[in-house]
Symmetry: C2
Subunit: 256 residues, 2 copies
């Protein structure tokens, strides 16, 4: 039964708590190097990337503006938190029933513009999303390569909720060395019909697979996925923004 492609996902353990200025790729290479040969996908958590990039805010230092104060009252949220969220937001997609769904300045649509308070030392400290997580993925990839010679693909993953379905799934917000969408548009299926417009969000599926072995509360910031070497590119590729559905092609963007 094991002729085809198979996949293994292993957490990278033994990394220190990530601090501002850390070269995350070097740390990952040091912890995982014996097993890295460049044929892997390394999935790193957004939070580790954001901490290394110093993207934290102390809510006690934030002075909320009028819009944040009004929105916080309507939603039952902390005005300082809403101020930080709005600072990361290009468009508010929904603000109702205690939920604030935003399009970030980087183009991702998610709760609270990705501003997150879990797993950050200091109760009033939050992390922001990387300003360009594709750049972050490319940098981590370069750091890994410089440290150990291997250039695996790198995906930056975050946990997003979804319309219609409960529970969060990890998705890709940045990637390097892999195309985020695998197109089966040209493939001819086995009964001779065309698989029209079947495009697989492979980077999102890799992020989801990695999350299965990464226990949120234990602080594992990276997972190595092996067995899909045919997906790895020498160049960095288009990045995860290729996953963003453009507003004018999206029937679920406007306010209802």
């Amino acid at each position: 039964m094991i002729d085809g492609v198979s996949l293994t996902a292993v957490p990278v353990e033994g990394l220190p708590e990530i601090r501002k200025g850390d070269r995350l790729g070097e740390l990952i290479a040091a912890a995982a190097a014996p097993r890295l040969n460049g044929d892997e996908v390394v999935v790193v958590s957004q939070k580790a990337v954001s901490k290394a990039e110093g993207l934290t805010r102390d809510l006690d230092q934030v002075v909320p503006g009028q819009r944040a104060i009004q929105m916080a009252e309507k939603l039952g949220k902390d005005p300082a938190l809403v101020e930080v969220i709005l600072s990361q937001t290009r468009v508010v997609v929904r603000a109702e029933r205690g939920v604030l769904i935003c399009e970030t300045r980087d183009g991702w649509i998610c709760a609270n513009a990705g501003v997150d308070s879990s797993n950050v030392p200091g109760k009033r400290t939050v992390t922001l999303l990387p300003s360009n997580a594709d750049d972050s993925a490319r940098r981590v990839r370069r750091e890994i390569k410089r440290a150990c010679g291997a250039a695996p693909a790198v995906i930056v993953a975050d946990s997003f909720g979804r319309p219609w379905r409960l529970g969060q799934v990890d998705v890709a917000i940045g990637c390097a060395g892999i195309e985020p969408i695998h197109s089966l548009r040209e493939a001819i299926d086995r009964v001779g019909g065309r698989l029209e417009a079947t495009e697989i969000a492979i980077a999102d599926q890799l992020a989801a697979a990695a999350d299965l072995v990464r226990e949120k509360a234990s602080g594992i910031p990276a997972v190595v996925i092996s067995g899909l070497d045919f997906l790895i590119l020498e160049h960095d590729g288009d990045g995860a923004k290729a996953l963003q559905r453009r507003a004018h092609e999206d029937i679920f963007r406007g306010s209802s």
Copy 2:
């Protein structure tokens, strides 16, 4: 680096083309049995389940009604196909720009109510979703157990598009022997803060992981995921419908 949980996903190869009346669980057990001990998650494709359950329709035998004809004209779709889609639909969530998003009678929100024409022998034949994919998962689980003694968890997976993001990902529409949502609500994170309301859609992430090793066009209907034995239940559990966000709690349900 390999102390923690790790995961392996392997496609089940050598299965015949699935036909109406086939006991899918028996076929899977026969192909995968040497490796099944009950600690695994077997992810089966909706299409294989639907074929085994005889859930196909020949569009040449379908007489479209007035509503289907009007909607088909508006959307540029085949009236017979729209008639079949509407027969599977509880609520039309969106019908615009050539896209028909429906809530199925089983409660899933997806394009075309899950009616699918790829990979089905006969150009005018489509598959329908199982009428209750949790029941399907339970039956496949029972068939596997009867055939080889092991009772792995079973997930029925289908490829769904998403608002805001391009590309499809596989999600769970049925499951047995595993809870679809893994709640970290009670977990305390490593810096002492509470991870509030962190619920992971673990069945969806398992479906996504399985799809990475299942090449759509090659007809692999099942994937065995090992390494997550702590998730496997002796009883069947609540089923994948626990993933359905209720309409009154969903701010992206209504027409915009």
